[in-house]
Symmetry: C2
Subunit: 236 residues, 2 copies
DNA sequence: CGTCCGGCATTGTGATCACAATATGCGCGG
DNA sequence: CCGCGCATATTGTGATCACAATGCCGGACG
């Protein structure tokens, strides 16, 4: 596995925090597929640090259910999403993220609007070119630069945790879909609602957007049923 | 600080998990007041283990925001609840816990009903005698034996995390109130709704119960304003 | 050729040590 | 009596080692 230099910008930050940031970004972007096994020493080597800070970062990610410790194996891996769990994720995401959008609505400024439009642009471009990574990135940025304006750190962290859980599987789905399927652009509606200052419409758009995205994942989960039990390993 | 032997029943369980369980129970019960400083070595001594498993347990509790690492000090303590944060906690608790109650409604059996009645009994007794600890315990049991029936582990864990954050402050408030103030018994309504199988009524009762409890905490937070800046230490 | 089994490598966990940063407590000077 | 500064203790963090448990791989046997 490729060695990644982890954000040398803030040398002051604690190592385990840097590892956490790097690892969680990889997970949200879906760089590490579901059921992939990882190990403390492997990750330590990957990020060029000792196993110690990795243990702390991983412990936190386990608490956030972005990683799991298999009870029988006691080995570390990226969790698999069951339909049952995905349904709960959908409910939670719908409430948390529509609430966040609702809270952000009265606080948006022209700068945010422009940024949202730009993000949506790059998102559409990524869809056109079939660049899954760019799509994931743009979609993430679109949502979270809204949430950052809600001035609600607790809800923000809840949303982040939920994305952390959905991330790996989201990547798989969108990669499979080939980015062909673009159901309807709730993002445009949302931007328009922001410009009108219509908080309720913003909330509805966000709920619809999340619902549709998760519905896609749900379909993919149901269709794939039981084709593969492949347990990919971390080694190069 | 008193030394606590941590659940010798399951000797197989990992030490850090036992420490986590013990520590989180103490926090939910409000045994450790807000702004109390703790330290890895102190806790290790308290539970009779080495600092290592404590580090892991604490790391998880930090992730769940039941503990915080002061950015300036880099020292460990129980977080203080601001009004801003408490409002978010209230919103989140209302949604998550009323949803859990709603999901549990069709799954209740006679046994659960009886247990809820018993719990409510001991809760009333605790109120009468002014036993804050017993009240906290009974109230916690009442709520979570409902949530356990919802078959929704993700939402259940969200609720647990929210209680973890509210716990220490809840204790302070109820201790101050002297358990005198008993606004209205939503628990009775809820039990009745469970017996009727009226899921919507259950949801409403739970939302009202949570709302009222948090409103109490909100009042207490506003009234106390800025009386004390005491920073209690962990030492005996 | 298939299957079991035995040894080796790798895993997570816990303990202990080192270290820089900070708080704490004591004594001195005012 | 009160504030201030310095020495000491305590803190979180990271590194390294030990160990039991499990996975993995290869050879031997049927």
């Amino acid at each position: 596995m490729k060695v990644v230099t982890l954000e040398p910008s803030v040398a002051d930050a604690r190592t385990h925090a840097q590892v956490y940031d790097a690892l969680s970004e990889d997970l949200i972007q879906g760089q590490i597929p579901p059921l992939m096994s990882v190990s403390l020493r492997t990750l330590a080597q990957r990020y060029g640090v000792s196993p110690m800070p990795v243990r702390e970062a991983v412990r936190r990610l386990i608490a956030e259910k972005a990683l799991e410790l298999q009870p029988e194996n006691k080995r570390l891996r990226v969790p698999h999403l069951t339909e049952h769990r995905l349904l709960q994720l959908m409910k939670a995401r719908q409430w948390v993220e529509s609430e966040l959008a609702y809270l952000a609505a009265p606080r948006v400024d022209a700068e945010l609007i422009q940024r949202l439009k730009d993000d949506d642009d790059t998102l559409m471009k990524a869809l056109a070119t079939g660049d899954v990574t760019a799509y994931m990135q743009a979609n993430h940025d679109f949502h979270f630069c809204i949430y950052a304006h809600a001035d609600a750190d607790l809800l923000y962290d809840m949303a982040r945790t939920l994305w952390l859980q959905a991330g790996p599987f989201m990547r798989v789905v969108f990669a499979r879909m080939g980015t062909v399927h673009l159901p309807k652009d709730h993002h445009q509606d949302m931007i328009a609602a922001f410009e009108r200052g219509d908080a309720e419409a913003v909330r509805a758009s966000m709920a619809a957007d999340v619902h549709e995205g998760m519905e896609l994942m749900l379909d993919a989960l149901r269709s794939q049923s039981e084709p593969d039990k492949k347990r990919r390993r971390a080694g190069k």
